[in-house]
Symmetry: C2
Subunit: 472 residues, 2 copies
């Protein structure tokens, strides 16, 4: 806990400096002394609180894995309602929507030549089942570029294997988009080539024998007609070494993954109603669904816990901030941002009143940067918020960065201003979409730092008179 003590000392020192500034701060900042005091108190309280950790512990333990559209996701929504009510939110509701359900089913994948060895793989989201066991030789592609160059029909009777490199670990998660091409569009080229199935190297930065799941991209309205499987980085290394030795490789593969028709999902909405401008909404949140392999602790139990706990701390202030703070626990994010699109559609007519939106969906390591995309005249407010967050080790980043998180994409596209509290993502892609995404991967003090940053910044944005949205 020495890190937290250091932060607490820095904060106390900051308060002292501020007290000696003879009101200069108050004259130039859009943040009042009272607001600043409240924000700093929220930080102190958040750093000492175990509320966030208890939320993610409860979600991962009492609900477990919760694939979008599953019975478990429904239990998670019920859980979200209870959490919202117990934590004193003013309004708690569930907004349902329908969605197509993809089920992973059982997978068997094994090397059969040059010798028998089970591989650690998992079906990718949207993949088709194999009708029976597929036994076929591998055609090796060094990367997705090599596969995209394949001639139509050239892979008949074969299994295509697309190698690539393990992701480099980075603070920002850079490289995910590029590496992800083999997961996203690989099937289109394998299928065009006539392959029986596609196997890809997992998209992840780890060297453990966990495959990383994830959704493929549809081709218009079409999904793959063939099984598509990701194998772990060490398994892909193994195939590469055998291939480099000139060994012909064969696989046996049987996958039950398939689409199973329309089901219900939903978003859970927890509101702290604003005291002066209740119609203006500051939207924060995470996604409630997870992939089914792990228990969705870092993706995205952490985001749900961070934003819910931050709002609950704000709720414990003597007065509600001026604007409404809305926590959305989005449903069915992993399988295509379905809750996010449903929300944007269901609130289409009221999006003009969404004055800011941001999501926590990048794990539970510490936040290091605050970026924004708000009315240029409101940028000074975000600059001042960043100063208040600086004792937490957070620096101010760009003021014209689009985004706000995956589930915010449909809102940002409609002109809703965003901020993002960027987390250190160095270890994120070790765990992302694997069985290893479990509670033990979350450090309570890092989670608390996140909640402190959210509580302070969201309070200040909600209690501000500054117009965050450019006039249109």
């Amino acid at each position: 806990m020495s890190r937290l003590n250091t932060i607490a000392r820095r904060l106390a020192f900051g308060a002292l400096v501020s007290a000696c500034s003879f009101g200069v701060f108050a004259e130039t900042s859009p943040i009042t002394d009272e607001q600043k005091k409240n924000a700093e108190a929220l930080i102190q309280k958040a750093l000492k609180s175990d509320l966030g950790y208890s939320i993610v512990e409860s979600l991962t333990t009492e609900i477990g894995p919760r694939l979008g559209g599953s019975e478990a996701e429904k239990r998670a929504r019920d859980w979200g309602v209870v959490v919202g009510e117990r934590l004193g939110f003013d309004k708690v509701s569930v907004e349902e929507f329908t969605m197509p359900f993809w089920d992973r089913g059982h997978l068997h994948i094994s090397l059969t030549a040059p010798y028998a060895q089970p591989l650690y793989g998992t079906a990718l989201g949207g993949a088709a089942p194999s009708e029976s066991e597929i036994n076929a030789d591998i055609v090796y592609f060094r990367d997705i570029h090599a596969l995209t160059a394949v001639k139509d029909g050239a892979l008949k009777g074969k299994i295509a294997f697309v190698d690539g490199d393990a992701m480099v670990k980075s603070q920002t998660g850079a490289g995910y988009g590029q590496a992800n091409q083999r997961r996203r569009i690989g099937w289109q080229h394998a299928q065009r080539g006539g392959a029986e199935a596609l196997v890809v190297r997992s998209v992840g930065s780890d060297s453990h024998r966990f495959p990383h799941s994830g959704m493929m991209s549809s081709d218009g309205d079409n999904w793959a007609d063939i099984p598509v499987v990701a194998i772990s980085n060490p398994d892909a290394d193994h195939l590469r070494r055998l291939h480099n030795l000139g060994k012909p490789l064969s696989l046996s593969l049987h996958s039950e993954s398939k689409w199973k028709g329309e089901v219900n999902s939903g978003n859970v909405i927890l509101d702290l109603v604003g005291s002066e401008k209740p119609e203006e909404i500051i939207l924060i949140g995470g996604h409630l669904d997870s992939w089914d392999l792990g228990t969705g602790a870092v993706d995205d139990g952490a985001g749900v816990a961070i934003t819910t706990a931050a709002a609950a701390l704000i709720a414990s202030l003597p007065e509600r901030p001026k604007r409404t703070i809305r926590v959305v626990m989005f449903g069915a994010e992993e399988v295509g941002l379905l809750g996010a699109f449903a929300y944007a559609k269901q609130h289409e007519k009221n999006l003009k009143n969404h004055v800011l939106a941001t999501e926590s969906d990048f794990g539970a390591q510490t936040i290091w940067q605050l970026v924004s995309n708000v009315n240029p005249e409101a940028t000074v407010l975000v600059d001042e918020i960043a100063k208040i967050l600086s004792p937490l080790g957070i620096v101010r980043g760009g003021s014209d960065i689009a985004g706000g998180g995956p589930d915010i994409i449909p809102l940002a596209a409609k002109g809703v201003p965003t901020i993002r509290l960027n987390q250190n993502g160095r270890d994120y892609f070790d765990l992302h979409h694997t069985p290893d995404d479990t509670l033990d991967k979350i450090a309570p003090d890092e989670l608390a730092q996140n909640i402190a940053a959210y509580a302070a910044s969201i309070y200040l944005l909600a209690d501000s008179d500054v117009d965050l949205k450019a006039k249109q």
Copy 2:
């Protein structure tokens, strides 16, 4: 490679100091200047060589997992013969033996109450199959002590779950023996209680969703009549949290693991025949078999590579050392030291000529300590060897430590002197007996340090006139 450069500089400095010592060293040491020079040259050569890494890369890639008694283990013996012949050993042979074969088969284990969630488990060696799917409530035991206190028949119709704690990471691997009790003898008490099956927390220091396999202990000639399954640490944490919430827990479990009759295994023996005392044998080695979940890189491809590469480097000297150096690639170690007992029996009449034995079977991290159990009058030789190894970061440990490695136990019990080059085992029990024991876990420079230490020390012991064995 900066670590290796540092080692190389330290060695050069050591040589300079030695050169300034005006022969004092030669007068007091059982090691000649010539021997010392050869040993130091072996160290330098080993640190620059990739021979050891290429051996473990070849074994794990070209053979893969190789369970004791399996067809894969037979391929590994054929591989060992080819390796021995290519590396210029004077005699290469295989000594076969028979053994009972235990096959893991398929396992399904899933939480069914309070909700459905697949668990990551694996059968323990020697466990019986379930006749059909077992669906039963869990009786929770905090640790093995709680289970040993269970009353006869008290677990009828139930599945016993024995929790415990994840192992603490340590340099020496301390804590393994104690933690391992639940794996070793848990079944005897679960079966006495009348349980349908036993589930135990894996014995390991990691927090990944890999179960750790391993052999149970037989009770006299009897093995378990029930399925016994180890689950990963995060899965065990999950069950513990649910239990602590007061939730009744149920499992569904189906295991195909079973004994399948007698099969062949064998030890591969590679000899460098001594130039003056060929009948005196210095035995080194590792075990060729692995558990079937990983590819047995650290357990014990590394040990095979370290000792084979060290002997091959010694073979590249202009002359053979005085004594015979024998590399044994033991078969069927994991399933009960079967190769080790077979060797001791097959060489029963010649054990008096085994003047020293040691095995590398604790991974591939750097060696930090040299311990021994030799004729007290020979201890000074080991002390002097330790001085030559000190630039590698190796210190001298106790001179009355029994052992020499798992496969050396039957030899040590018959009075064969031993040394052990103790490796840093800090990460060993993260990987031990899991699917994650793969080549990527071995750092080539750490492996090279091991080979340097073995090459120098084994050369010096083999070329020495010092009697290592106390007169009996």
